[in-house]
Symmetry: C2
Subunit: 318 residues, 2 copies
Amino acid sequence: MSNRTRTRNPNELVERARQGDRGALARLISFVEEGGDLARQVGRLTFPLAGNAYTVGITGPTGSGKSTLTERLISAVRASGEEVGVLAVDPSSPFSGGAFLGDRVRMQSHATDEGVFIRSMATRGHLGGLSLATPEAIRVLDAAGVPWVLVETVGVGQVEIEIASSADTTVVVVPPGSGDAMQASKAGLLEAADVFVVNKADRPGAAETRRDLEFMLHLSASDAEWTPPIVMTVASNGDGIDDLWKAINDHRAFLSEHGLLEKRRAQRLAEELRHVVTQRVEQRAYERCQGPDFDRLLHEVVERRLDPYSAAGRLLES
Amino acid sequence: MSNRTRTRNPNELVERARQGDRGALARLISFVEEGGDLARQVGRLTFPLAGNAYTVGITGPTGSGKSTLTERLISAVRASGEEVGVLAVDPSSPFSGGAFLGDRVRMQSHATDEGVFIRSMATRGHLGGLSLATPEAIRVLDAAGVPWVLVETVGVGQVEIEIASSADTTVVVVPPGSGDAMQASKAGLLEAADVFVVNKADRPGAAETRRDLEFMLHLSASDAEWTPPIVMTVASNGDGIDDLWKAINDHRAFLSEHGLLEKRRAQRLAEELRHVVTQRVEQRAYERCQGPDFDRLLHEVVERRLDPYSAAGRLLES
């Protein structure tokens, strides 16, 4: 490996990433994952350069075929002539650094395409976890000039849904089968979806799942002008991918026309700022609850010379 | 109502509670529930006076017959000649102030007994919720000279288990029936239990549930010298209550003999102190994320003149 790619200087790496150096891009995302001072520097450098990429979140239960669908979407973006970055986010895994997780290997069909950058992200050092690291990683791609960023989350836990639903367009993938639509509803996916996909639509139960989704959407119908379309796909052979790509672009156009894109992005930044503040004070609380000052005050509490609230007050004053 | 009982002066109320004034006791617990300055004053006054009461937590899934069992335990404590305080804790309910929740009405069989003080607690103003308010309420009873405090929690959510397992002796009640023991295990009750009760032991499946518990205890057996006994009871007719009362006293004796009571109480105070510190910094974070300073910095973030981390830094410096 040459010195050129081994630099750890964030300024230099951001400059190189903007010139198309994929190694620099990968390193910057690693810094973000690891958190700490380098991540902060990367954030300060990329934030003013970002704000142009359009993000698509893809989430849904295991077995819905999200990965294959994401692979097809990559092809759709590329067919439109644009570059695409893909973040495969797995909060349950400590592994990261490449597209090597399970069926993500299949994404390697795009591995030789210079217009595609695929990266798995996992929980590493970042104190705020992946819900704070992911928007930062998106900004790295964004700052490097990548116009489309797909964010695929592995599970449907709270963190995964939070990450996927903070995209500009959130695609919720549901497999066919009785009860699956209801499960998606329970997990809070109904509220998160801008576009629904019933994938594996050639399997039994697909029409019923579509009907269930329609029914639930009808129940939860609000005054909002956008009603999530339900797209039927068979990711394994590419059926319906054009419809999905159109639905995503329709939603994008809708947001732009109604001035909602900037509004939603501003709301997300407000949430992110609150999240960062909370994470930092929690870190501070954690630090205050370690070391000799804490031990001394705890001793006084155990000896009943000081109540826990007064002890907490003294810890936070110091 | 006389002026005597209507005072809101914590000093006066603590003094009266120590002289056996049940109205004063009830008012002090209400202050604790509501949180705020009065709660802090009550905490400062009662903390140095507390540390003598022995606490028994009683938890288990709905339908296990916890309330009837608690009622029987009250009788057992009274038969031993000692006074008893009972806190029925329901984090899911906004109601409090008396034993009027559902089958808690049955506890009214002790209502005319001056040696029994029963009180329901619910989530009210206290910022730390019931997991912080409950130890404070226990200290009110403790400071008033009540030697036994039973803490019954209504559900088996995380907060309920946390509350019940912070007692000196934690009793986990399981109803008979296939899978119930396994469910208790999943909810984390297995680790929390010092004593197991299979209640409604006259019903089918009780012996199997006992066997399941024995098997799971065997699987999780550690080097700890205390193995939770499994007591079979029929709370509705009083069968097995003597065994349960003996098991509780055996556990108490075990803790005392091995010097574990003071050790566990010190650990709990350390956890409480950490919890109070965390709650206070979270409150601070919440306050920082409101108002003109936050709005001004957020505006700079949305305009991309400032990244979220730098904005958070400024908010926390100010």
